[in-house]
């Protein structure tokens, strides 16, 4: 099952990537689990997506909690708290 993952702002810069295509391994069914799974990609991911980082998550452009479930083709985004206005 594949999902599209987007990163914004400081997260995008830290990871050196704005978009990823991720094939979810069995057992990775929520946004929170995806975040943990991405951390295994290396030190920059571990740093940027660490549990202590205050991050916001969205699925298909709606803000969601870490418990939100994923389905094939979802657009998942991770980003820092917003600072517009």
């Amino acid at each position: 099952m594949k999902v599209k993952v987007l990163f914004f702002a400081s997260l995008r810069e830290q990871l050196g990537a704005g978009t990823l295509e991720v094939d979810l391994p069995a057992g990775v069914a929520t946004v929170g689990a995806l975040r943990a799974h991405l951390r295994s990609r290396g030190a920059s991911y571990e740093g940027a997506l660490g549990e202590k980082k205050a991050l916001r998550m969205a699925v298909n452009q709606e803000m969601v909690p870490a418990s939100a479930t994923l389905k094939a083709g979802d657009e998942v985004a991770f980003f820092p708290p917003v600072t517009g206005g």
Partner: protein
């Protein structure tokens, strides 16, 4: 209702006039946010930003008499003194116009997917979200 996320600048008087057409409008409240001191670049999440703003405007319409409304938020490179954001609300009376305008602005700060990066001589730095913005948005919860 007009929602626009754009690079270009906007003209306050033109936007206010555009929502003041109906003769039943008795009040227009507007807010303009400016870049203070330091030049910056604003990034956003195309698609989600517009949806988030639309949801905020919808919520304001459910709470107050909002006859028309315009929200413009810029992104890209902005210099000190540049206009960043406009919220303008037309209503029958000033109370609703003021309240809806402030509500939309407070919620924009915490829900619209924008990120500011200040561009100083020593380098760029992402602006940290402020707890006071959450407090400002939180006071509308009932």
């Amino acid at each position: 209702m007009k929602i626009s996320v754009q690079r270009e600048d906007f003209d306050l008087s033109r936007e206010v006039k555009a929502i003041s057409g109906q003769t039943t409008v008795g009040a227009v409240a507007s807010f303009v946010g400016l870049v203070r001191d330091v030049p910056m670049t604003l990034e956003h999440y195309p698609g989600m930003t517009e949806r988030a703003i639309a949801a905020i405007v919808e919520e304001a319409r459910g709470r107050w008499n909002v006859m028309d409304c315009t929200v413009i938020h810029r992104y890209g490179e902005l210099a000190a003194g540049d206009q960043i954001v406009l919220v303008a609300v037309a209503s029958a009376h000033r109370g609703d116009a003021f309240a809806a305008c402030e509500f939309i602005m407070d919620y924009l700060k915490t829900r619209a997917t924008f990120w500011k990066k200040e561009l100083r001589a020593e380098g760029g730095s992402w602006v940290e979200a402020r707890a006071s913005d959450d407090t400002a948005a939180g006071r509308w919860k009932k």
